[in-house]
């Protein structure tokens, strides 16, 4: 190891000696390393199979009434059941706590029949009373409404006429009743917390970290090391059957590239939200399966049609020419969505399309073959602008009929590479039709401020669309316009009478094919008005270790994802890769640790010895 060191003289001796000791120490460490390295990270902690997930975001609070972050909602979905869930085969509603459900003739009364074999993890049965209490608390208590109050905003009352029947009375019919993704909590645990203070602030402040938490889901929260890890233990008595793994450990990785390396080394079993580069790199890794799923998100840019409040007060400083639908349509027609997919997403996306991603096949709408829908056609766009009186100036940039030069600001999220790249393409394509773009790649906070102040021309946006598309459609109704500047509920200052009528109709339509038809027509209107221009649906990329996880359920089954499911299918169904994982499911033994400790001690001792020795020998010898 140190044979290449040739002491070349007395003067240099101390540092040579130092190097020798360092080299010897390194050799010792390297010798001990294989023992350490063989220790898998999906390690065993007290027996059984552990599935380890690399978590990329810290949880905010485990309180299901207040938790905001998607990562937390995701975890809580495994801890608390909801009335219905999403069928992984059909994407439609499926039975969960409720075995059956029906609406009255007028659509204002919904009756849910609950299973009778559900117990909470503390052994208490889950009854209709728990369901009614959970909903009623969110309705009556503002502090308890911040997480899921949107689901109950149209509720008049929720009652439990008997132990297994829940009756919901509505103000207006709403088709979203089969997608109430609300965690049902045990009343006997939460009521005392609510009653600790008036106004419910005690409930809002409660972090729900009294482990193990009491829930009815397939897993029980048993530990949270802040900033480090979260532990879920399987609930063997879950009514749907016991999960395949005994334990899920979610380890926090603040850097995604490090998490990818952890997967490669086998320290974690699963990594989600990969970039294209990360997914590509993992494809060649051994024992790793990369799952590419159909996107739930759309990537879009919106055009400021003129920011107004609900009372019609104009504000902001959007380019006045953008109020003209012809100009907006020309802008949409100038952009080739396939080019965005190829260049901005490296092919890992699907070109749009309507507002709802094709993953939800019955709600999705495509402009192709639709005469009213303008497709990518820069020549036609130029012709339209010529005809509408937008004349090109000497520098090739058009001037509106009112004399305003078509120079548009564009706000792009600097933290989203796909948006940054798409922005660069937009600059070029809009130049093709005589529009100059001032490309502003900014912090998301700056972008958000510009949007709410109405001080933008083109701006990027994107939403994750749930199996029930009601919410993402609602943000473009006239009601989503701000009541005063800065308070907008939507994200585009869009307001269209035909759209509003269709929106109301789809919400009241309980027949799914009928509703799907209305949802498709809504997208047609959005497309025609060219305020919200959807560019692409980015694929979801995630990866797991096949030597740790043998199988799991995608949602939907075809082209579906693992992380961020509506249900808890993936982790509930995941089966350990028995042979290897079982055999290697033991952490580094104490012996190994003692060995490492000995090496460290030896190094320290050698260092100390060296320091002392140097002093004495130098004085003796030199």
């Amino acid at each position: 190891m140190n044979s290449h060191h040739h002491p070349s003289g007395l003067r240099r001796r101390p540092s040579t000696r130092l190097r020798r000791v360092a080299a010897a120490g390194t050799a010792l460490l390297l010798a001990a390393a294989p023992a350490l390295a063989s220790a898998p990270a999906a390690a065993d902690e007290g027996g059984g199979d552990t599935l380890t997930v690399a978590l990329s975001q810290q949880v905010d609070s485990f309180n299901p009434f207040t938790a905001q972050l998607a990562v937390t909602t995701n975890i809580l979905r495994h801890v608390y059941d909801s009335l219905l869930t999403t069928d992984p085969e059909t994407n439609g509603p499926a039975a969960s706590l409720a075995e059956s459900w029906e609406a009255s003739e007028d659509g204002l009364t919904w009756t849910f029949q609950l299973r009778d074999d559900v117990t909470f993890s503390d052994g208490e049965p889950l009854t209709a009373d728990d369901v009614a209490w959970t909903f009623t608390t969110m309705m009556e208590n503002e502090a308890a409404s911040v997480a899921n109050g949107n689901y109950v905003s149209g509720f008049r009352s929720v009652t439990a006429p008997d132990g297994h029947t829940v009756v919901v009375e509505l103000d207006e019919p709403q088709a979203t009743m089969t997608s109430l993704n609300v965690p049902i909590v045990p009343r006997h645990v939460w009521e005392p917390i609510l009653e600790e203070s008036e106004g419910g602030d005690s409930l809002a402040e409660y972090g729900n970290e009294d482990f193990p938490t009491v829930g009815s889901g397939p897993f029980v929260l048993t530990g949270h090391d802040k900033g480090r890890s979260i532990t879920l233990e399987a609930n063997p008595d879950h009514w749907r059957g016991a999960p395949g793994f005994d334990r899920i450990v979610l380890r926090y990785y603040s850097e995604k590239d490090a998490a990818v390396e952890a997967l490669r080394g086998g320290e974690v079993s699963f990594v989600y939200e990969l970039t294209r580069a990360q997914a590509t790199a993992l494809e060649s890794a051994e024992n790793v399966h990369v799952n590419t799923a159909d996107g739930k998100r759309f990537q879009a840019f919106t055009v400021n049609p003129g920011a107004v409040t609900q009372d019609g007060e104009e504000f902001g400083d959007g380019h006045p020419a953008l109020a003209d639908r012809t100009l907006r349509q020309a802008i949409a027609m100038a952009v080739d969505n396939q080019e965005i997919v190829d260049k901005a997403h490296g092919g890992q996306a699907v070109a749009a399309g309507g507002y709802i991603p094709p993953r939800y096949s019955d709600f999705h709408w495509e402009p192709e073959g639709d005469e009213a829908a303008p497709d990518f056609d820069p020549d036609a766009a130029n012709a339209m602008l010529d005809e509408a009186g937008y004349e090109r100036g000497g520098d090739g940039v058009r001037v509106s009929p009112d004399g305003d030069r078509l120079k548009l600001r564009m706000h792009v999220h600097q933290d989203r590479p796909a948006n940054v790249n798409a922005g660069l393409i937009l600059v070029e394509r809009l130049a093709d039709i005589g529009i100059e773009v001032d490309n502003r790649t900014v912090d998301p906070g700056v972008l958000s401020d510009a949007l709410y102040a109405g001080e933008y021309d083109l701006i990027f946006t994107g939403w994750t669309v749930n199996p029930d598309p009601d919410y993402v459609l609602s943000i473009h109704t006239c009601e989503a316009l701000p009541t005063e500047p800065g308070t907008m509920q939507g994200d585009a200052y869009f307001c269209d009478e035909e759209y509003d009528d269709l929106y109301e109709a789809q919400l009241a339509e309980y027949d799914r094919p009928g509703r799907a038809e209305l949802v498709r027509r809504l997208q047609q209107v959005l497309y025609r008005e060219a305020v919200v221009n959807v560019l692409a649906y980015p694929n979801i990329m995630e990866a797991y270790r096949t030597d740790q996880i043998a199988s799991l359920q995608y949602e939907p089954a075809e082209g579906g994802n693992i992380w961020g499911q509506e249900g808890y299918w993936a982790w509930w169904s995941a089966e350990p890769a028995s042979a290897e994982a079982g055999a290697s499911a033991s952490g580094p033994s104490t012996g190994v640790w003692v060995g490492v400790g000995a090496v460290v001690l030896a190094l320290v001792a050698a260092g100390g010895f060296l320091l002392f020795r140097r002093r004495s020998t130098m004085e003796d010898r030199e």
Binding site: A37, G227, S254, E267
Partner: protein
């Protein structure tokens, strides 16, 4: 440079052992001067802290973006839900009222409440302070020892081969981005490539489920190797350069000629005479860094998912979680001020020339 050199120096410890005996003959006038000096420093520190509190509050409120909008981004929330969150965070109050509440809280040592974690900021900080001090402390001590050791050697023979190599290597690492270096270490030493096994963990501080004092300590040490290497590699150059240049300053001093004239060997001249004097400027640097280490390890903590204050700050800035970031800001700034104050107090003990 005619003052008497201090000779009791120990190159590895610039602390109390290196300090000359302060028991000089001193009158009451000296005590008065010392008291005035201390009072002056304390006042300066208090004023700085006050400025930091005000700046911290308003600085983060100038940050673009709205905490409630950012926290609810992508969520299907109604306007009423956003209003309720605003109320819970106290953002519906006028700015001056928010500031008064905040300042009053600080007087009671209450740093406020984090928006996203819904926990007192002080608790969040205390939870993670230990991790940061462990990592940053180890890194700083190792970097300082390494830098001073190499710097003394380099400065003694400036332009020599050892100097050129050491300085070049140190400056190379100094200019390397922390993130990149950390990731390289992870790729080559943590996950394993080809026949190279993964030697160290990719992140975190201790494996979940580790128990027992010895096992936890060893597991933590194992997790610390890569972050400490990264941190040391990036920062040791500053100690090296300071030590090098101050040793070069001392090199021509008369007292060294005297020492040589006494017949002392070159190494002894360096170790016993030159290094203790050259250590003085470095002490200031060490103390300044002790204050900054807490905030300086943000990048290292992020790459290695170290559960410390850096990671907490990073998660707070993304929102922006005003309660959290302003609390951390005050703590970071206070630690710099405190360490500066300490340096001001300790420096006269080490260097008779600056005694009041």
């Amino acid at each position: 440079m005619t003052s008497t050199p201090t000779t009791a120096g120990d190159p590895s410890g610039p602390g109390a052992t290196g300090a000359p005996d302060p028991a000089d003959p001193a009158g009451s006038g000296r005590a008065w001067r010392v008291a005035r000096y201390v009072a002056g420093r304390l006042t300066t520190a208090a004023v700085s802290l006050g400025a930091v509190v005000v700046a911290g509050f308003f600085l983060f409120r100038i940050l673009p973006g709205d905490p409630v909008r950012a926290m609810t981004e992508g969520r299907e929330v109604t306007a009423e839900q956003r209003e309720e969150l605003r109320r819970q965070f106290g953002l519906d109050e006028p700015l001056w009222q928010q500031f008064l509440d905040y300042a009053a809280g600080l007087l009671r040592l209450d740093l406020g409440t984090s928006f996203q974690y819904r926990e007192p900021v002080a608790e969040l900080i205390l939870d993670r302070l230990g991790s940061t001090v462990l990592l940053a402390g180890t890194g700083t001590v190792v970097a300082a020892l390494l830098g001073l050791f190499l710097g003394a050697r380099a400065g003694w023979r400036p332009g020599g081969r050892g100097d050129r190599v050491n300085t070049a290597v140190a400056l190379f690492f100094w200019s390397v981005p922390t993130f990149w270096l950390g990731l390289l270490l992870i790729v080559f030493l943590a996950s394993g490539r080809g026949f190279v096994p993964g030697l160290f963990p990719t992140g975190g501080m201790v494996d979940p489920g580790t128990d027992g004092v010895l096992e936890t300590a060893l597991n933590t040490a194992w997790h610390m190797v890569l972050p400490v290497i990264t941190m040391v590699a990036v920062i040791y150059a500053q100690y090296l350069m300071i030590m090098r240049s101050s040793l070069m300053d001392e090199k021509g001093a008369d007292y060294l000629t005297t020492a040589r004239a006494k017949g002392l060997r070159d190494t002894l001249v360096r170790r016993r005479h030159a290094v203790p004097n050259a250590l003085l400027p470095t002490v200031t640097l060490v103390f300044l860094n002790l204050g900054q280490i807490v905030s300086g390890v943000i990048l290292v903590e992020t790459v290695f998912s170290w559960p410390g204050l850096g990671q907490l700050f990073y998660s707070g800035l993304r929102v922006p979680d005003l309660g959290l970031v302003q609390g951390l800001f005050v703590v970071f700034a206070a630690s710099v001020i405190l360490m500066n104050l300490l340096a001001d107090m300790v420096y006269p003990l080490l260097d008779p020339r600056v005694r009041p």
